[in-house]
């Protein structure tokens, strides 16, 4: 039994006609403007696939897009070490998890950042393992205390040994990709086992918007695709600076970028399980800065999900980001808005949803706990209003009759636990009790809960023999508590 993955799609900012307009405009971009490619392997693949190549400019036809979409899987399994933690991306099913590669951490209760360590990666992964609404782990942090060459395999090791949920992340380099794959093969018992149940997948930020392929990351993308493992494409333009200022214009460019990437993945290896990674950021026109918590981000994320549904390609997106510096009121409303819109848009794989602050620049444990509640509330919305014979409660209404109450009725007892979302962090007590308990705000309560949770929740670890083998094969750095 995989994780639930509730059905989204209730919020549809685009009409069918608008979806088709964006699709047509994107095809025109691909055919007339094209993408800039310097990577030789990618150029050769595009040329062989029928693209018109003029120097480093690659023009992609509608027919190429059609052909690629025909071989792109509509359903992608991202397995957990524990099969109950599997996520199955298809249709409008929605999952949310951690993400982002900040190199800074906001310690519990602190107001200044400090450089992140491998220990922080492990702690956040263990917390993510414990959080009920966190469906997967996108490696949540980039450690600064590990030599860069060792980072990829160490980040994945720190996550895999601390969670049984699926682990996805950037792999840094082609060598990093190979190391991560080899380590994962050791964990599951060989290459075939990993292809059957991919417990790891890669994010490749191969696109430098607008429409420009990064040569190095494209190498990683091609290497990963050749291995037949799931990959998330990621392009993250900013409306107003690296994509058009209008939401529709950004969607056109982003969609063209994603289609160019999907084409490439299918040219390397038809059938490659690929997630189209639409990350529709916004530039602050007053400073040029990157905005993660803008409401338009959430709107575009839902629209992007509609495009991905139109193509029957699973979508990797973002939600629950904020530009706030602390887990404060701004963090709360920006996160709720962007997460809810992405979820109600039916975005299949929402990363950045747990523990991110200052858009993509810092991670915080207590924020992750608060975010668990935000995602839980969104999940309740997706579950919707269940209308059944029993939920209509006609009998109960008759039983209680005018002027009575439902507190002791069987119907209440039957549904009261499942019908409502019960928050763990929100305070619902009366004011007097709240005052007597020290007048703690949301953040303070979350800090206390994180400490308790991390104390209780032990790392699942890897089987001893596997752990030893991995440590023997790779330079695994220590992140044990001191």
């Amino acid at each position: 039994m995989a994780r639930a993955g509730l059905e989204g799609g209730q919020y549809q900012p685009l009409t069918q006609a608008q979806i088709e307009d964006i699709h047509a405009a994107s095809l025109k971009v691909l055919a007339e403007t094209g993408v800039h490619v310097e990577n030789e392997r990618a150029l050769a693949l595009y040329r062989a696939g029928g693209a018109q190549v003029d120097g480093s400019r690659v023009l992609i036809s509608a027919a190429m897009v059609e052909a690629a979409l025909a071989s792109t899987p509509a359903r992608v399994l991202l397995a957990g070490r524990d099969p109950q933690q599997d996520v199955v991306l298809e249709g409008r099913r929605v999952y949310a998890g951690t993400g982002g590669s900040p190199t800074m951490v906001l310690d519990p209760g602190a107001d200044t950042l400090r450089p992140a360590t491998l220990r922080d990666v492990a702690d956040m992964a263990r917390l993510a393992d414990a959080l009920a609404h966190c469906d997967f782990v996108v490696v949540p942090i980039h450690p600064t205390d590990v030599p860069e060459a060792d980072v990829p395999v160490n980040r994945f090791y720190a996550c895999l040994s601390n969670t049984t949920k699926h682990v996805m992340g950037g792999v840094g380099s082609v060598e990093g990709a190979r190391a991560v794959i080899e380590a994962a093969e050791m964990v599951v018992g060989g290459p075939d086992a990993l292809r059957a149940r991919p417990i790891v997948s890669a994010i490749t930020s191969w696109m430098v918007s607008p429409l420009h392929l990064d040569t190095g990351v494209t190498d990683i993308l091609l290497t990963w695709c050749e291995q037949g493992l799931p990959v998330a494409l990621s392009s993250a333009p900013m409306a107003g600076s690296t994509s058009p200022v209008t939401l529709a214009g950004t969607l056109v460019q982003l969609n063209a970028e994603q289609l160019s990437g999907v084409v490439l993945t299918q040219l390397v290896r038809p059938g490659t399980p690929v997630l189209a990674g639409y990350i529709p950021g916004v530039a602050d026109m007053r400073t040029g800065g990157y905005l993660g918590g803008a409401i338009e981000f959430g709107m575009m994320q839902a629209a992007a999900a509609q495009m991905a549904h139109f193509y029957c390609v699973p979508i990797y997106g973002s939600g629950g980001m904020t530009d706030a510096k602390l887990p404060d009121a701004q963090a709360g409303y920006e996160k709720m808005a962007t997460l809810m819109l992405a979820a109600m848009g039916g975005c299949n794989y929402i990363h950045h949803a747990f523990g991110m602050l200052t858009n993509m620049n810092a991670a915080s444990l207590e924020q992750a706990l608060i975010d668990n509640e935000v995602v839980g509330m969104a999940a309740r919305v997706l579950r919707g209003v269940e209308v059944t014979e029993a939920s209509l409660a006609a009998e109960a209404i008759a039983r209680v009759g005018p002027g009575g109450h439902y507190l002791m009725d069987d119907h209440t007892l039957r549904f009261m636990r499942s019908e409502f979302f019960y928050p763990a962090v929100a305070d619902r007590q009366n004011r007097a009790t709240w005052e007597a308990q020290g007048k703690q705000d949301t953040r303070a309560r979350a800090v206390a809960q994180v400490a308790r949770l991390l104390e209780r929740h032990t790392a699942p670890g890897l089987p001893q023999a596997v752990d030893e083998a991995v440590r023997h094969r790779f330079r695994i750095h220590t992140f044990d508590a001191t």
Binding site: M104, H142, M238, G240, T242, R286, G288, G289, N361
Partner: protein, 211 residues
């Protein structure tokens, strides 16, 4: 002709590059001192832009378009200005350091400094220490600006400063650094002369460093 100067300044503010060029030509034709045209026309207009940008009334694209108009005016004016034909602000070499491809912030800083009258030499992204050294030797700038967005490439700022030192060029320039993860403390630690958290304050910083 205070009126003409005001016209130059206000057209510059509105980003009307053709008008600015024409008006500068007109001022020169009328025999006005090129230095006055620069100070009371172009730079006065740019100052106004800077103020309103900081106040949040003007947005980045408007500032960049005003800077482009400033350029158009400078192109007309340059041959008439004394030695070097610059604004007197001097040259500034900028680049994103080795290993780093993030250039949006660096480009913004470059365009803003250009607007403030600096002559910018852009070495692009992924610039090695030697690339900086060659450029400093060739262009003799007053300022060197380095940008880094990755914690892993911030160390290359330090390496570049050390390389400038070894090449005997460190004292000939002021070094400023920036990028999201870069802090004032880090700048001090690696021996840079200054740090600015955004493009608007980068202009203030650059002015202060050459003063």
């Amino acid at each position: 002709m205070a009126n003409l100067m005001e016209k130059i300044a206000s057209n510059l503010y509105d980003g009307e590059e053709d008008e600015v060029a024409e008006l500068v030509q007109k001022a020169l034709d009328q025999g006005m001192d090129p230095q006055d045209v620069l100070q009371d026309g172009l730079l006065a207009g740019m100052d106004e832009v800077g103020k309103d940008f900081k106040a949040g009334d003007l947005y980045v694209p408007e500032v960049l378009i005003a800077a482009r108009a400033m350029h158009a005016g400078m192109n007309v004016l340059r041959p008439f200005l004394a030695e070097g034909g610059g604004t007197g602000m001097g040259k500034c070499v900028v680049a994103t350091v080795e290993g780093d491809l993030h250039d949006i912030g660096k480009n913004l800083v470059k365009m803003m400094l250009e607007g403030a009258g600096f002559e910018m030499i852009d070495l692009g992204v992924d610039a090695k220490a030697e690339t900086f050294i060659d450029a400093v030797r060739e262009h003799r700038p007053k300022l060197v600006g380095m940008s880094a967005l990755l914690t892993t490439t911030m160390v290359n700022m330090k390496a570049t400063i050390e390389a400038l030192q070894e090449a005997g060029l460190r004292d000939s320039v002021k070094v400023m650094v920036g990028g999201a993860p870069v802090t004032a403390a880090f700048a001090a630690e690696i021996g840079a002369d200054g740090h600015a958290p955004d493009a608007a304050s980068a202009v203030d910083l650059a002015r202060a460093l050459i003063a």
